[in-house]
Structure formats: structure tokens, C-alpha cells
Amino acid sequence: MTVLEGVAPPEVEVRPRGVSRRDRWQRRLPLLPALIYTIVVTQIPFVVTLWYSFQSYFWNTPAPAHFNGVSNYKTVFTNAAFRSALVRSVGMTATAVIVAMILGVAFAVLLDRKFLGRGVVRTLIITPFLVMPAAAALVWAGPMLDPNFGLLNYLLEPFGVHHVAWLSTHALGSVIVVMIWQWTPFMTLIILAGLQSQPPDTLEAAKVDGAGALATFRELTLPHLRPYIELGVLLGSIYLVNVFDAVRLMTNGGPGTATTNLPFYLFQQVNNAFDIGGAAATGVVTVILTIIVATFALRMFARVFQFEEGGV
């Protein structure tokens, strides 16, 4: 029922060989508004960022912006805070994506079986993804994790946990838990679609051949799921690397800088240090790093969407 789709358009229409100029422009015309809009709105801010990255510009002082060469970049590369925010960002994203994916596979396997109320359980499981991230962060920080009144401490009391102040003692872990909680449903849905697209006759054949459930899963299901897992990891990473709400609203980057990831670090540079130039240079470095990663990601995208081949 569900398949990864080859997105190449049908061949008939595709070869604009020998077509007239008029036809080419007729084809282009509908694309132009969206293309121009996207270029203007998404690229101009980055061009301006590049410009400011060579300026000294503090918006809390009346002094106008002035050129100061690469000194902002020197600061970025010698700044331990930037490096640690970068490392933390990568660590948070990787942990959250991997754990969410493992849970997602497990939940999808559970939901793939027939049982009473399957639709309801599916609905329950996808709900965390739909909760407004700001609401999720605040509800976890308050009613769930509050050291004195929080539900989690109450549930864990039988296991010898007594009024733990999670956000002070396990800040990073708490933020990551909320990220996982919100993104596991996403992984579950994608993997579930993969499981349901598995041809039932091959599974049946494996069963007839006497293969155990675990062996079938490892030898047949997992290879089949691979593109779905790649897709989930890729899309999950794109969103999770930018996580801001949970950090800002649960821990405000702290205690100290224990939960300061790159987005929050940039936010602080602009909002607390008023350092537009410095933030711009940090931003440029971030974008360059992102482009390096994105190049690989886009290649993966092409493979997952099955249109690597040329020839169209």
C-alpha cells in the first residue's frame, strides 16, 4: 500500500529537446514566483549575514557598524563557547534521533499487529508530536519534572527516587528526553508505513521455511526498512538540530552552559550580548558547516527518493 515513490515525472513530457523558446518560458513561468520568493526571503538574510560578519556592530551602542576585517571570525574560532555549543548540538541531535528511531521501530512493530483498539493506541502515540513544542517544554519543565510536585518524581518514588530536581541535576538529559518524546511519533509513523508496505507473501514464505520471528525481522524486515530509516533519520536531524524551544523554555541553556546548543548560543549572542557582527560570523561558520553536512544529506535524499540516475 505504501511505497517509496520514484519521483521522476513520466518520460513522455520530459524531454524539452528542440522545443521552442516560447515553450521553455511557458514551462518556467509557473515556477518563477515561488523561486524568486524563496531566493529573496531565504537567501538575502544570509547575504546580509555574510556582510555583517565582517563588521563590528553592537546594537546597544549608537556607534554605526564599521568594517573590522576577520576579527569576528578570529573570535569564533578561538571561542571555546562556540565549540562546546557546536559539540553539544551534534551530541543532542544524534542522541535524540537515534533513541527516537529505536523507539520508533519498536512502537511500529507493536502497532503493525492486529489488536483491540489499535487505532486508539496509534492516536495516543502520535499525539506528542502534535503538542506545541513550547507547550511540551513548559509542561515537562513544570507539571512533569517539578522537584516538589512533579508527576515523574511521584511515579519514580517506588524506585527510590526522591524529589530529584531534574532540570538542575540532569538538565541535558531532560531536554533530550523531551526531544525524544516529541519525535518518536514521527519515526513510528514513517517506520509503520515501511512495515505495512512489506509484501506479505515473503513474510509468509519465511514462516513456511521455518524462520523464527527474530531472524525474519533481521534478514527481511530490516533491509526492507532501510530507506524508511534513512528518511526518518534525515528529516528528524534537519528539525532536531534546530531545537530551540525546549532549551530556551526548560533550562535557558543552563545550568551554566550545560544545555546551550548552537541555536541557543546564537540567540544569546544577539539578545544578551547585542553582538550582531559576532553572531553573524558564528552564523556564517554554522552555515558553512551545515552546507558540508547538507551535501551528504542531499545525496542521501536523492538515493532515498530514488532519482539518482541521470538521463531524464
Binding site: E5, V48, I126, T127, P128, L130, L266
Partner: protein, 290 residues
């Protein structure tokens, strides 16, 4: 699975009875496990809604209370203060979603039905903008907005949310357009339909359910967005996530009030997501999974 499999191991289980029973109890076991997992996962949401119905004094107790006399007091308080925020959120969400569809439908057409020569590059350009971290440009974005007199304006949010959702929508709408049967398009062309009539008369009616699910995905992301709103708006365009933040006071009891605000802020998207469950996967995978 059934009796036919039994002869392979003839020693055990002569009659199918006990085996079937075991199979059944195993099924029930998996079902129970799935329910336990589902409820555990849903628990924070349930707790949020429960706490929202508590009086403030009952929200901060040890042990936490599950039985209490419910009150709508906190909701009343929320509804008395949410006016401007919810208005801004609705305008930004609806405005950006409409704009996304207006820009996205023609663009998807030019990337699928009558593709431009470099449709592949086009597609990847759009998706690559999704990977650029907007946080990296937030300082300059602030300065640009300031100079363009767009700071703290709802237009700014509409413009940015449109750019945020457009790549997603184009990939998604395109996947729906590719499913329109070629014969229909060719028949329309033989009837002398131009490009515009082809879109409005043939393609749009067929992909309209797809457009609805695309719109729903855009609504979810626009409604929930905090980072841009927090940085670029103050009062004239502050949205629901900012209303939530304002519901956490510096001191005093607030858990019930916060929960009520969080419930109210989340409910629209939760309902939309529940209704659109089937198309959620397709939207989130940008059309890759049907």
C-alpha cells in the same frame, strides 16, 4: 501458524486446542503491551489536561492529586487574556498557508506535469533552503526587519512562515500531481485546454484532498513556531507560543494556569493532526511515503 504447521513437529500438541490458546494469549499479550506503551507515551498530555482542570492549590501538592473537583477557572483566565495572541496566530497561520498554496501549486506544476529542464535542481534548491539554519541569520534578519519597518508586524511572520513551509509544500503537492493519470491530461489537451484550464479543471479537482493535507501540515508548523516570533515580535504580532511563555509568572503558583494555557494552545493542532492522521505520514515525509 495453524494446524497445517503442526506436522513438522508432531510430538507436541496433538490437538490444536492448547496451541491456538497459546497463540491467542500471545496476541493478547502484545496488545496489552501496545496499550501500556501508548498510555505511557500519552501520559504527559493527559497530565497537562488534568492539571488544567485543577484549582491552582490542587495543582501543587505532594503526592500529586488524581481526584479533585474540576474547575474551569484557569480556562476562563486563559480566555480572558488570549485575544490578541490567538488573533495573530490565526492570521499568521492562515495567511502563510494560503500564500504557500498560491505559490506552491504553480511551482509544483512546473516541476512535475510540464517540467522545466532543470526540475531536479529546482527541487533540490527548495529542499536545501530547509536545511539552512535560520538561527544563523537571526541578527541580520532583525536588522532587515527593522529597516523595512516590518519588526513586530504580522506581515513579517506571514512572509517568513511562507518561506519556511514552501519547500515542504512543493515536494508534497508535486507528489500528488504525479499521480494524476496522464490520459486525463492528454484528453484535456486534445479538447484544447490551455495550461491554466488544465490546472484548474483537471489537476486541482483531483489533487484537492492532497492540497488539504498539505495545508494541514503547513498549519501545524506555522501555528507551533516560536523562534522567529520570539525574536521578531513584541506585542503587535505576538503569537500563541508567546502567550504560553507569558503564562509563566516570575513567582507564585502557576502550574494549573500554565497547563490550561498549554492545553488551549495545543488543542487546535492536536485535533487537526488526529483528523489528518492518514495524510500525516505523507506530509512529514514530503511526499516520499504514500
Amino acid at each position: 501458524m495453524t494446524a497445517t504447521a503442526v506436522p513438522a513437529r508432531p510430538v507436541k500438541d496433538r490437538e490444536p486446542g492448547p496451541q491456538k490458546l497459546r497463540e491467542m494469549s500471545r496476541q493478547v499479550g502484545w496488545g496489552v503491551l501496545a496499550w501500556v506503551v501508548g498510555i505511557a507515551f500519552f501520559l504527559p498530555v493527559l497530565w497537562m489536561v488534568l492539571t488544567a482542570f485543577k484549582p491552582e492549590s490542587a495543582a501543587q501538592t505532594w503526592p500529586p492529586r488524581f481526584a479533585f473537583s474540576p474547575t474551569l477557572a484557569e480556562f476562563r483566565l486563559v480566555f480572558s487574556g488570549w485575544g490578541p495572541f490567538v488573533t495573530h496566530s490565526v492570521i499568521a497561520t492562515v495567511g502563510s498557508t494560503v500564500l504557500v498554496l498560491l505559490l506552491g501549486v504553480p511551482a509544483s506544476y512546473a516541476l512535475s506535469v510540464h517540467p522545466v529542464k532543470n526540475w531536479r535542481d529546482g527541487l533540490f534548491f527548495f529542499i536545501s533552503t530547509k536545511m539552512l539554519p535560520i538561527v544563523a541569520a537571526i541578527g541580520p534578519l532583525y536588522v532587515i526587519a527593522l529597516k523595512a519597518h516590518l519588526l513586530d508586524s504580522i506581515w513579517l511572520l506571514i512572509i517568513l512562515y511562507t518561506a519556511m513551509n514552501l519547500p515542504l509544500a512543493i515536494w508534497m503537492i508535486r507528489s500528488f500531481m504525479l499521480e494524476v493519470p496522464r490520459e486525463l491530461l492528454e484528453a484535456a489537451r486534445l479538447d484544447g485546454a490551455g495550461r491554466i484550464r488544465e490546472i484548474s479543471g483537471v489537476i486541482l479537482p483531483i489533487i484537492s484532498p492532497g492540497l488539504v493535507s498539505t495545508a494541514l501540515i503547513c498549519v501545524i508548523f506555522a501555528w507551533n513556531e516560536l523562534f522567529l516570533a520570539l525574536n521578531l515580535t513584541v506585542t503587535n504580532a505576538a503569537t500563541m507560543p508567546m502567550f504560553l511563555i507569558s503564562s509563566v509568572p516570575q513567582e507564585g503558583l502557576y502550574l494549573a494556569h500554565l497547563s490550561a494555557a498549554a492545553t488551549v494552545a495545543s488543542i487546535p493542532v492536536i485535533l487537526v493532526g488526529w483528523i489528518a492522521q492518514r495524510s500525516l505520514v505523507r506530509g512529514l515525509s514530503m511526499g516520499a511515503i504514500k
